[in-house]
Amino acid sequence: MATDTSTEPRHGGGRDAPAARRLSAWLKGYRPLPGVPDELFDEHGRPRDRWIAFLGEFAAHTEGAFGIATRHLRDTGASHRVYGEDHEQTWPIDPLPLILDQAEWDEITAGVTQRANLIEAVLQDIYGEGKLVSEGALPAAALAGSPDFLRSMVGAKPAGGRYLQLYAADLGRGPDGRWWVLDDRTQAPSGAGYALQNRLVVSRAYPALYNSMNVHRVAPFFDAFRKGLSEAGDRSDPRICLLTPGPFSQTYFEQAHLARYLGFLLVEGDDLVARDGKVYVRTIAGLKRADVILRRVDADFLDPLELNTSSRLGTPGMLEAIREGGVAVMNMPGSGVMESRALLGFMPQLARRLLGEELKLPNVATWWCGQPRERDLVESTLEDLIVAPAFNTPNPDGGFAGPRLVADMSPDERAAFMRKFADRPGDFVGQDVVRLSTMPVLRDGKLEPAPFVLRVFAAATPDGIKILPGGFCRMSDRTDVRAISMGEGARTADVWVIDEKPVERLTLIPSRDDVKVRRILGHLPSRAADNLFWLGRYIERAEATLRLVRSLCTSLMASEAAIHASGETFDTLRRLLVEWGALDEKTMASSVLEAARASLHDETAWGSVISLVRSAKRTASGMRERLSPDFWALLLELEADLGGDEVLGSEAEALKQVEDALQHLAGLSGLSQENMNRVAGWRFLDMGRRIERGVNICRFTRMLAHDKATLDDLDLLLDLADSQITYRARYLVGLALTPVRDLVMLDPYNTRSLAFQLTTLKDHLSVLPTLQDDGMLEEPSRILLPLATEVETEDARRLDADKTHRWERALMRASGAIADRFFLQGANAVPTVKLVGLA
């Protein structure tokens, strides 16, 4: 590139020589694409000041910092899911942000604000009076073709008065240097949470640089967004839910992240119940009203009763509740109709008609071919155009989908397209080809230009439309940027809007004094209680299995316990592993090392440690917004350690791994004891652990402290109950049946004993909410209270296997009773059968 790279940057003095050389090499090696504008170099081929200011500092200090920041991303599980794949992928963020100056940003702000207002006005009309259609400004067929034109919402008034709470526009800079609107996102725009995530990573990676460049903060936008949502509710302190399609959604991480950041309740369709014209959340304290729902579920799936009857993501009766005004669902179902490309071509006239203004940001020139004149125009200039489906109709037979450059089509594709176009031109739009501008990205240490699309977010707030200063930037490897989606190896970048003067620093701290002090954040949803309970059980079971494997390994090593390897104790150990699904019969008979390996790593065994950890992770992933990032990071690390392909060469290595894993689990327990608020959520996690531990100790006692138990048996039992030290300190005489039984079963001071688990469970139940208003006990307490009393008053000399077994079964019953009382029992709604045949 023939440029004047000697231009001395004005910022960042004191740069060292290697950094200056690096910067110079980056700039010299940078080759913008011919014919399109570039963000780094201006039209005269000179690098822009704001980029030099950034790159200079970046070259000097901060390159290495980015690696650390992105590792944090991986550790905290920031991810997205490529459609159709099982595994989530780590979030692909580029170290360089897109940098825009204030003047340019002001234009974008004005343009996107105008467009948000325009789209709101169009929606108000088409779902209200319908003048645009009846007076001929919009053909009825241009609306009717969209699966998101919801006729059942015509005439319904949105509870908050608005259709759009959050709107996003995909922008690209065209060859003329202007910004163009490529697409509107009105259904349930994604990406704001990722923008937040990108900002956290980048500002963490280079805090000094970030602060020195006067970058506009994003927190005030989210604060205003939240205020806007709460205004939509009709109570002063509305319960706001974020409705997610669930952990298998492509952007689940983003949804969980947003919910946690904004303090919204993350719910799935099953968590909600519609009745009497309102929507409620199922919580452990019964049904609680959901006032405002920010939905990430597409409208068609919201209500299996009225819309897509095969939907498993929705809530039957939700639309009725919306029509009755009992719940504000944002964006209003039906808003998605504005994503139809067919409507793009009408936007300039609609702006004149509804706002009396010209569009401040043009949208890409688009012709809907359902009109004869437009069809003829497109047909005659087909070679130079992109053709695209006019509506977001799912395409069942594959075939033609997404925007295509006609010139790129193969003869067969073209023939197929021409046939469809001839019969049904109204299914298509023709669009001008917009070649998008490029921005620098770092690839293999070199600076390269990449085309990009910028998603800008607009929120309706009490003070009008607010624009997120920044946004969600996606870059493509390909030149056809119109097809950028997160599934195609695209990368993302933070977006910096640079002010000339220092910006006000503000995070989410409310400015007014009217914040009500509260210590408990609403009622725990039943689903979260369910997940936490099972997370507790899985973690405890994993720990117990690890202890079994440890005993298996040490049985061969510890000199005093070498006898374990022979005899019945050893068999008991292996049999337990088989009964718990950690080992199969065949592997049980092989060497100790094989058995240990299998119990730790066998992914096909449901009870192996790796399987249990994965179950714990899967359970945790359904409520990531409730777990601290540290908790999640430890869980991921544990999975990585156990799931690695390293082969354990000896019992000693196996033992080392078991010890490491036990330490990880101790870390998880520590975190949940010390870092989780002692509200209902923590209680369910702990109850899961206590139930599991209580059941396990009963079982171990039955198998190892029976009337004919050997010294080895008792020794192993104390190992599994982690009670060796206590026993040895208390009883100098050595192992004996009655004191061992007392210690592991009845001693209320031993945190591993059955008695201790029961006392703790009793405490938890006594503070959880009750549904009874007649002062009667609920079922879990009816089971646990007498059990706890019986154990408390039992004498170890009379404790036999039958009694232990009875207690174990009572605990299992208590677990079921807790599930029945608190979880989403019986929530599996099914559609009624349809007529099998018609005449």
Binding site: A141, L305, T832, K834, L835, G837, A839
Partner: protein, 294 residues
């Protein structure tokens, strides 16, 4: 002709159902071709909530909620309807079908009667090139729409075998087309797919057909069935015209319209969601009784 109609649906559950919520489209609608004299729907057990509203395609919809345990749910709809279908437009002098297509795309009515609603593919009625080509053989360039669609109807009647039990409500249109058999719903869907494939506005109609018992035999109680056919928009003047491919006739005074929509999903007599674990069975009894006693 005045008809007494009875449409009784019985759900039986193997395990008790604690909660049911249903949308019922069981109230016939008055229109140019019929007048509803009386109608009522009775649900047993008694619903704890019941609401009525006009649906997106003009049908009267009743939403009911039953929230006490039950093992049988009976929905009994009765009505009296006076059918007076105007004579069909003259086949030869109707508009050329391409002109109808052009008018439909320009039309300014987005309400239930607006042709624009009935131009596109739906989840249940996809547009399939081979079905479009099948329809094309009847929709020759410049041909009057009523004549062209009548011929298409006759071909469907001839080319496809009526075979109850061969298909289900969920059978995709191409499957019935390829197998060359089906019931009224399949034939209606084939017409819809073929005509919309060429841009002709076509609606799905559910309703009842008067059946005439064999000579000398009494009409059997509950022996009638719900029926389905199509309605094609033939331009502003001619309006909507009903074509019944199962019987190769234009809809007239023997056809009583229950609901009109883009596909079966818009007109399904009952959509329901229940909380249940066990199996469910369904029985439907329909009686169409002409009041003159025949």
């Amino acid at each position: 002709m005045i008809y007494g109609l009875r449409h009784r649906t019985t759900y039986s559950y193997s395990d008790s159902v604690s909660f049911a919520r249903c949308v019922l489209r069981l109230t016939p609608r008055s229109s140019a071709s019929q007048t509803v004299l009386e109608s009522s729907i009775r649900v047993t057990p008694r619903p704890s909530m019941r609401q009525e509203r006009t649906g997106a395609f003009g049908a009267q919809m009743v939403t009911v909620m039953v929230d006490r345990p039950h093992d049988t749910l009976v929905i009994d709809a009765r009505s009296r309807v006076d059918v007076h279908t105007p004579p069909p437009p003259d086949a030869i002098s109707s508009l050329p079908w391409e002109a109808v297509r052009g008018l439909a795309f320009e039309n300014r009515d987005i309400g239930p009667e607006g042709p624009a609603n009935y131009l596109y593919a739906t989840n249940r009625t996809q547009l399939v090139p081979r079905i479009t080509d099948y329809a094309r053989e009847s929709l020759k360039p410049g041909r009057p729409i009523v004549a062209a669609v009548s011929e298409l109807m006759s071909r469907v009647y001839r080319d496809f075998r009526y075979d109850p039990g061969a298909t289900e409500v969920s059978t995709p249109v191409w499957q019935a087309f390829d197998a060359r058999h089906g019931v009224c719903q399949d034939f209606a869907q084939i017409m819809i797919s073929g005509l919309r494939g060429l841009g002709v506005p076509t609606a799905y109609v559910s309703g009842y057909l008067r059946t005439i018992p064999p000579e000398g035999q009494p009409r059997l109680e509950g022996a009638d069935a719900t029926h389905a056919w199509v309605s094609v928009w033939c331009g502003e003047a001619a309006g909507w015209v009903g074509f019944d491919p199962t019987n190769d006739i234009l809809a007239a005074d023997d056809h009583i319209v229950l609901a009109v929509g883009r596909d079966y999903a818009d007109v399904a007599p009952i959509d329901g969601v229940i909380l249940a674990t066990g199996a469910q069975t369904l029985k439907v009894e329909v009686d169409v009784v002409p009041e003159d006693g025949t």
